[in-house]
Amino acid sequence: MIKLNQVSKYYPTRFGPKYVLRNLNITLPGDRDIAILGQNGAGKSTLLRLIGGIDFPSSGAIETKRFISWPLALSSGFQGIMSGRENVRFVCRIHGVRETHEIEEFVKDFSELGQHFELPVGSYSSGMRSKYGFAVSMGFDFDTYLLDEIMAVGDASFRKKCAEALQNKRSSSNIILVSHDEGLIRQQCDAAILLAYGRAEFYESVDRALYRYQNL
């Protein structure tokens, strides 16, 4: 369960504070797979970053006892000059995993990168990078995975593999997904949050949320 308590987020601009989220009060259940819907600039990624703890609310607080992954986005924090393997080691270390070999091999297998795994991450194409990022996060047992458009770039076979991997994790974890792909949302999620006008509404049914979203 992730609880948002009066969470507001604004960015200071030349025109004064620009609010992206205003006084959100929602509870995200731990046993549902949640899609975050909203138009461009509605604050989907911001909300995900807040939940992931890499950005901070301007006021309010987010409470949870779950282990939450870093937000998996295309530009997520891998070091371009370091190789895939070195980046995995780094991520392992900051998560307190000392025996990194097992996860390294898992990521190499899962991401299907082959030799590229030993080359700098900066040289990866966007498809490879998304595969790589997804594979790294699958190497850890998080309670909640935060996915930010990560599956949109992969090819068909990899998307299938992602879906299967997520399915295997279902018993112990849930996902929070940002995507514009309705098919993917219907397939992966069973609840949704609609962000609009700086507010958030929780929907038990994905279909109703999508209907509302399309009629904004």
Partner: protein, 260 residues
Amino acid sequence: MQARSALSIQRDVIFAIFVREMNARFSTYTFGNIWILLEPLVMMGMFVILFGLRGSGNFGYAEPPIFIMAAYLPFKLLWQGTMRKNISVLSGARGLMGFRQVRMFDLSLARTLVEGGLFVVVATILVVIMEWLGFNAVPGDPLKLFYYCVIFWLFAASFGLLMCVVSSFAREIEKIVSLMTLPLLFISAVLYPMSIVPVKLQKALAVNPLVHANELIREAWFPLYSSPVADIGYLITWMGITMALALASYRLRWQRMIAR
């Protein structure tokens, strides 16, 4: 996954960044690992030739190369290295901000540790090399030297972090600090001892805390040298105030610094 205490998370993160920084330092440059030894050696050679041409440089208590090494090495690695790495901590942290465990302060701590460790390693190797070449390079009072170096190092780290926070208000600060490095080299008693400075000037120069650091290190390195101005209390006061300011301003400002 297992819950860790805040302290053990920080320890893990600092270790991870430490390894990463070491990697970046020694794998991106082809001659990275040699250069760090070569630069002070070249510098020492240069100054020995310069002093030799002027017919001076031997102050009676140390051979010229050792004299240069004892001041240039701490100034270059402990002061400039640690300070610069701390000033640029914000841009370095941008790439690491994708993970909630990593804070800018961890990067600052890890970089400070890397620089301090490098200094110890490089200084040890150079002392061994110079001894092997027949110079009398071993510090007279190693414990005191270590103590002074630690204070100097903490001062450099605090000053760097403070400048990093200040430069988030005005980017120009970073440029001004890097402009100052060369003048500072000349007015900080690096290439000359304070004992050859006219007494009238001594007081004015001694306002600069770096003079005290260099003089103290010189005193500890050469037992025969006694500095007219060195005062550890003065240096510690500067260090304490800078560190307090750096930590306080960092704490007030860090969230806004990393926000894009």
